[in-house]
């Protein structure tokens, strides 16, 4: 079973803020980590690998190598970074086009696994869009892979109010729900041994080199502006003494508590 796992390097912080006066982003000290949701996909891939190969794929700057290495220390055989200036400013569509082009270039896979979403984009859309570009079926929010035989995979998927059991032909793409397994820790031995190679592919390596499909040019959505969340207008602040009692009166007045008449 040859498995591709999509991963992403994400900021190890949620402390991005906007300056309310200038409207610009403030963020200091950019520590990065492997998107935590990807760990469940990676663990699933390593469990299913058998005598096959687990290869991780990411789009990002060359520094994303750190995240790819982490996946390799966990047990992936190798990794590829899709990195090119022309990929800058990509939205979901352009990102998924890039990943699909990378998958076509790599070839030879039976299954693609990814986390259900990333902690920075939070859209949960890149996996299914990539599957569409590749012309393969997908299932999102997979809780469990119950069977893998005869060129098909059977999965249980989380559908809010129900759980569906689906059978999909291979190759297909699955996005793994969180907490469906316990991801293994990176191996220090693998780190010391310098296991696994990391390749970088850029636009010139793709079959489809049409620049208008990638990066900002290939992004139908545009971020017009960013701004701090707006706040309510009618607000009061209480401090001082007897706050509990004041709160009781407030709640009683608005009929949230039954109280003495």
């Amino acid at each position: 079973m040859n498995i591709l796992v999509f991963i992403k390097q994400v900021p190890d912080t949620t402390s991005v803020e906007v300056d309310p006066v200038t409207g610009v982003l403030k963020r200091d000290g950019v520590a990065s980590k492997l998107n935590p949701y990807d760990l469940f996909a990676l663990e699933q891939a390593l469990t299913l690998r058998g005598d096959g190969n687990v290869h991780v794929l990411t789009m990002g700057p060359p520094q994303a190598e750190q995240a790819v290495r982490e996946a390799i220390y966990m047990g992936a055989d190798g990794g590829t970074i899709l990195s090119d200036r022309k990929f800058a400013g990509a939205d979901v569509l352009a990102t998924s086009m890039t990943l699909a082009a990378g998958v076509r270039r790599l070839g030879g896979y039976d299954l693609i696994l990814c986390g259900k979403q990333t902690t920075d984009g939070d859209t949960a859309q890149v996996g299914p869009e990539t599957a569409e570009h590749l012309g393969i079926p997908h299932a999102a929010n997979v809780l469990e892979i119950t069977d893998l035989s005869d060129g098909h995979v059977t999965v249980r998927v989380n559908m809010d109010e129900s759980i569906e059991m689906l059978r999909l032909p291979l190759p297909c793409l699955l996005t793994m729900d969180k907490d469906v397994n316990t991801p293994r820790l990176p191996s220090y031995k693998r780190k010391l041994a310098g296991t696994g190679t990391v390749d970088i592919l850029s636009l010139k390596d793709f079959d489809d080199r049409d620049e208008t499909r990638y990066g900002l040019s290939g992004s139908p959505t545009q971020v017009e502006r960013v701004f701090p969340p707006e706040n309510h207008t009618e607000q009061v602040v209480w401090d001082g003494e007897h706050l509990g009692e004041r709160l009781y009166d407030y709640l009683k007045e608005r009929k949230f508590v039954r109280g003495g008449v």
């Binding site: 949620t14 991005v16 803020e17 906007v18 982003l25 403030k26 950019v30 700057p61 520094q63 200036r85 800058a88 400013g89 979901v92 569509l93 939070d122 859209t123 949960a124 859309q125 299914p128 869009e129 990539t130 997908h138 299932a139 999102a140 929010n141 559908m159 809010d160 109010e161 129900s162 759980i163 569906e164 059991m165 059978r167 999909l168 032909p169 208008t212 990066g215 040019s217 139908p220 959505t221 545009q222 971020v223 017009e224 502006r225 960013v226 701004f227 701090p228 969340p229 309510h232 607000q235 602040v237 209480w238 401090d239 706050l243 509990g244 009692e245 709160l247 508590v257 109280g259 008449v261």
Partner: protein, 399 residues
């Protein structure tokens, strides 16, 4: 289309370093004597704003679609066992507001089986036309067959925008459709506005931080977005709707999907904080798991439920189903009392639509205070016991 151009020749080394440091995504790098922007760029344009003398946004004019050919605001009507999903009625309410701006109709597109009751519900909640794809092969949600139906609908009806509920099926179907039409899809919008030129202004929390992003899809149609349950408000249903139901033929090939639905099991009824009218939310100001009992008691006394922030769930103090926020549930209770919650944007995004927000926090500068209708600067360990004492005393008279 646009790109960022840096005129590095004019810059001193110190200026180059300053520019590199300013990029929150580390996307600007030295390359020989010049500076390059790599794939990390999120187009936040901070560099353009800070160093307009060196960094320019270069707009390239591109031929987009003819927007006049794309008319009407459509909603994907999600079928459940009990008719349409409530998020569908909320989206129809919003679609009506958006469509009124451009004087265009509201459509619902309803694949599934059986659809009769759900189609009528769409009419009552404001759809002018409900396009129905009814076939036994659509009885269970299968993303490939449903995508085929939506593809057929979009090709024939050409709506300018199509809204999806950010439910599990919606989040699987919308990206599939967006990719097929190579158009824009914006996830988890919290605010939508329509421009006269039919561009949909989509606002969502972004970059995983305390930021809202305003996003538009100006070159392609239809414009797709997802919206979570309980963000918008449904219209009062009209018992004598004027809209019509339009039966559609199952498109060729839709029956022969790749994905086989073997079995559907209903999940056991779960704790659902989204249904609660009153919520007491615990945050990091709660020092000990034992202390949650006090908040639980408060929630019970108010006829509500206990919920919490991500750290509460990560610490294992609360069931994950009780998490409020982008990675948890979106709630919209009549009353929410946050106790020791600082108010990250992810948390805020999951509760900001609540009718009344009361925040108890020792820090008057906590972000939650700017959201709260009543910001109580004080110690929850004093306030909550005093409140409970009053409730016990007061409640005793009435029960």
């Amino acid at each position: 289309m646009a790109h960022i151009a840096i005129d590095a020749d004019k810059m001193t080394l110190a200026e180059k370093d300053a520019l590199i440091r300013i990029c929150p995504f580390s996307a600007i790098r030295h390359e020989g004597d010049t500076l390059t922007i790599n794939a990390g760029c999120k187009m936040c344009r901070l560099c353009v704003k800070k160093y307009p003398q060196f960094v320019q946004l270069v707009e390239e004019s591109v031929q987009g679609v003819d927007k006049s050919l794309w008319q009407g605001v459509a909603v994907y009507a999600q079928l459940t066992e009990r008719g349409v999903h409530p998020v569908t009625t909320e989206l129809l309410g919003k679609a009506k507001e958006l469509a009124d701006v451009i004087r265009q109709p509201v459509y619902a597109v309803l694949p599934g089986h059986p659809t009769d009751a759900a189609a009528r519900e769409c009419l009552r909640y404001g759809a002018d036309r409900v396009y129905v794809y009814d076939d036994t092969c659509l009885q269970n949600f299968a993303v490939d067959r449903y995508t085929a139906c939506l593809e057929d609908f979009i090709t024939r009806v050409k709506p300018c925008a199509l809204l999806f509920g950010a439910t599990s099926p919606g989040r699987s179907l919308a990206p599939r459709v967006a990719a097929r039409f190579r158009t824009g899809l914006t996830a988890d919008c919290t605010k939508l506005e329509m421009r006269e030129n039919t561009d949909l202004v989509q606002i969502r929390p972004a970059f995983g931080g305390n930021i809202m992003a305003q996003i538009v899809t100006t070159r392609t149609r239809p414009q797709l977005c997802t919206v979570r349950y309980k963000i918008f408000t449904a219209q009062t249903p009209d018992d004598h709707p004027k809209g019509v139901i339009v039966p559609m033929a199952l498109p060729d090939g839709a029956r022969a999907g790749d994905i086989e639905v073997l079995h559907v099991e209903r999940k056991p009824r779960e704790v659902d904080i989204a249904e609660a009218e009153v919520i007491v939310a615990a945050g990091r100001g709660v020092k000990n798991q034992r202390d949650l009992a006090m908040l639980e008691e408060l929630a019970e006394a108010l006829g509500g439920m206990l919920a919490g922030t991500r750290p509460m769930i990560e610490a294992g103090w609360l069931d994950p189903r009780r998490q409020i926020g982008l990675s948890g549930r979106t709630v919209r209770p009549k009353l929410i009392i946050t106790c020791g919650v600082s108010g990250s944007v992810q948390f805020a995004a999951g509760m900001r639509a609540s009718d009344t927000i009361i925040a108890i926090n020792t820090d008057p500068n906590a972000s939650i205070m700017s959201l709260a209708h009543v910001g109580i600067v004080g110690d929850l360990y004093e306030i909550v016991p005093a409140l409970l004492k009053k409730i016990r005393e007061g409640g005793g008279l009435d029960v």
